[in-house]
């Protein structure tokens, strides 16, 4: 029997399992009068990732590398005060985001978390959109209304999150309920962190989706911390996957820093949802190597913990080993992907920097479908630029009045 790890354990589980990490299933107890198939009866032995082509497997590396490089570029822009709000990193969690999103079809819809930039890129969000959004440009996906990666596109299959955690679980229950009502062959995936599992919204949405047997996959990314709060202060459960039992659904757990293991476990849950098997809870074990946001100095983290994960359990480093040893990837091939990523990030940055900030009056458009526009209040009429010049506090965030002072 596999050793059961308590949630308090944040030791890196290193590449001993390499690319061969397996998902482990916990068995949901059969409720009375259940229509559930007996969990574990389906074959989990055949690895879904075994059917991925070599090109697809190299693709996984490209998305992880793009995620990391784009975030590194954002850090540089943040330090130049061009990112006007907070910056949220997913350093060390790229495999979790990319591997899970890669298991979806184009028609499926996911709702990302703040550390799922990789999922959004896989689903078709572009570096240019991300950069414009972070830099609050007028042509950003939300026209300057929302921050960071809070945006979506139902046509490309991702719905932007909001900051109150857990709220996207009931929303995605509604999205997948529509798939079911319309008998569409589509499924949904929603990400939550270890912290969000404590919210009422998570519970209500999860329970409703489970009762309705909706085609929904819920991924709990256990990265050790919710802001500064460690998991042992978040839950008394031994592991988050145990919560599946209470909801009467199947729970799966996998090494979140092994991109192929993440793909495998997600694909298993996706296939189950597509086949009418209802909700699956997946716990992905990973680690947040940066603070909650860029301003967070992580003083609450025990000394050496971050360094150990970086040295022993970096998802990209681990996958490079797999690529070289199992796919026979050459240094030239890898360098070519890295160069492609660097070029794309550079080009997107150049393009994004050209964009103008939004027009202030655009702030008043589109709260309702009808009426389309709110009227400016009398004391704002004709004065909107003066607001930027005169009323914006110098010390507020990273904003610098001098940048717009000439307006």
């Amino acid at each position: 029997m596999a050793k059961r790890k308590g949630t308090g354990n944040r030791e890196p589980r290193t590449g001993a399992t390499g690319g061969n990490g397996r998902a482990s299933a916990t068995t949901a107890r059969e409720p009375h009068g259940s229509r559930f198939p007996v969990p574990g009866s389906q074959s989990a032995s055949a690895r879904a990732s075994a059917t991925l082509t070599r090109a697809q497997k190299l693709d996984l590396y490209y998305w992880m590398r793009l995620t990391r490089s784009l975030e590194e570029r954002l850090v540089a822009l943040y330090r130049q005060t061009k990112v006007v709000g907070g910056l949220f990193r997913s350093l060390g969690q790229e495999a979790d985001a990319v591997g899970s999103a890669y298991a979806l079809e184009r028609r499926d819809i996911l709702s990302p978390l703040i550390r799922n930039l990789g999922s959004m890129l896989v689903k078709g969000a572009t570096p240019l959109e991300i950069l414009r959004q972070y830099m609050a440009k007028g042509d950003s996906p939300t026209r300057g209304r929302e921050l960071n990666i809070h945006f979506g596109d139902t046509n490309r299959g991702f719905i932007g999150q909001i900051s109150p955690l857990g709220d996207m679980v009931p929303v995605m229950a509604g999205v997948t309920m529509t798939f079911k009502m319309r008998r569409q062959d589509r499924i949904g995936l929603v990400y939550v962190g270890d912290g969000a599992t404590s919210t009422g919204a998570f519970h209500e949405g999860f329970n409703f989706a489970a009762v309705q047997r909706l085609p929904l996959v819920v991924i709990v990314e256990n990265n050790g911390y919710a802001y500064s709060t460690p998991i042992e202060k978040q839950t008394a459960a031994r592991q988050f996957v145990d919560k599946a039992i209470g909801y009467g659904v199947e729970g799966l757990q996998a090494d979140g820093n092994d991109v192929l293991a993440v793909y495998d476990v997600t694909k298993q849950a996706v296939d189950r949802a597509r086949g009418g098997g209802g909700v699956t809870l997946i716990e992905l074990m990973t680690y947040r190597r940066k603070g909650h946001a860029e301003h967070d100095n992580q003083s609450y983290v025990p000394p050496g913990e971050i360094e150990r994960w970086a040295a022993e359990n970096d998802p990209i480093d681990r996958y490079l080993v797999v690529m070289r040893e199992e796919l026979g990837a050459t240094d030239d091939e890898i360098a070519a992907i890295d160069a492609r990523v660097a070029h794309e990030v550079d080009a997107a940055t150049d393009e994004a920097e050209k964009s103008a900030p939004p027009e202030p009056l655009d702030a008043l458009i589109g709260v309702y479908a009808d009426p389309p526009r709110e009227r400016p209040l009398w004391f704002r009429e004709g004065t909107e630029r003066a607001v930027d010049v005169n009323e914006r506090a110098e010390g507020w965030g990273t904003w610098q009045a001098s940048r717009t002072g000439s307006a």
Binding site: T142, R145, E146, H150, F151, G152, T154, I159, G160, I162, S163, P164, D167, V169, P170, V171, M172, A173, G174, V175, T176, M177, T178, F179, M181, G200, A201, E204, G205, N207, F208, V211, Q212, G366, V367, Y368, A369, D370, P371
Partner: protein
Amino acid sequence: MAGVPDRKRLMAEITYLEALREALVEEMERDENVFCMGEDIGAYGGAFKVTEGLVSRFGEARVIDTPISETGIVGAAAGAGHMGMRPVVEMQFIDFIANAYDILTNYVATARYRAFLPCPMVVRGPSGGYVRGGPFHSQNPEAGFIHTPGLKVVYPATAEDAKGLMKSAIRDDDCVLFFEHKYLYRRIKGEMPQGDHVVPIGKARIAREGRDVSIITYAAPVWKALEAAEQLDAEDGLSVEVLDLRTLAPLDDEAIFATVRKTNRVLVLHEDTRTGGIAGEITARINESCFEWLDAPVLRVTAHDIPLPYAPALEDFVLPQTSDIVRAVRRLAAY
């Protein structure tokens, strides 16, 4: 004329509650994207039986009995709304909408603005007091939501408006919070206009024409205002105008200002508590736009700032009564 049936008898009057049900049935028949969700709304037909008979007519897929999860079902309605559905969610009592406050104000209300995601959905439920319901089955929480840009709020007083506004709410492309006054459910009746009876959101209604004093109100107090107007006419010879707002967000400023300019003396009346209530907002708007038209300060008659108690002696003391309205109007007229 012999042989011509009395129109009244042909077009039977129905209750406020039946009018709501009629609207739900007609809209579900008109548009397959319309569906209902809520606690005990299917087999049981809802705590007040608004949805009675719907499940046998439309099936369990469109009349969904849900777990006790206000956040869960309001959030699910938003998700379904994004995908083109038009959900109608019942709060078993509107008091429980507080449980969905986060998802309504943070998620639903902002969705179109921040993410260009439509949330065409209705959240409806029995509201209001005068029914000995106590602190958790009598509330009027509308003021908490008119403060949130992105939500629409309606609160009809008549059976005709209950039906017509419900049909508008279901067809609206944004989220509409639909407050139904439970005191009125079975106490008042109305004759439904023939055909597709739709009442536009955002338009107030003159419930009674008058010259001397205006009462601006909505929901059950409309009937108390009408009662007071009768008494003031008979005893004081005062001509009182009653404006039924019908929609609280967006407010019908035009109708409010018109009645102010007509009578120059205004009472704002609501059943909700006083501090932070809608009466304050209406008073502020009148002050900003009609100050020179006023012959007296705008007065408010509201509930006391007290959680609503159960005992009839207590509830009746806390909630506004017809005698309070009469007293306030006399004071305005004498000012």
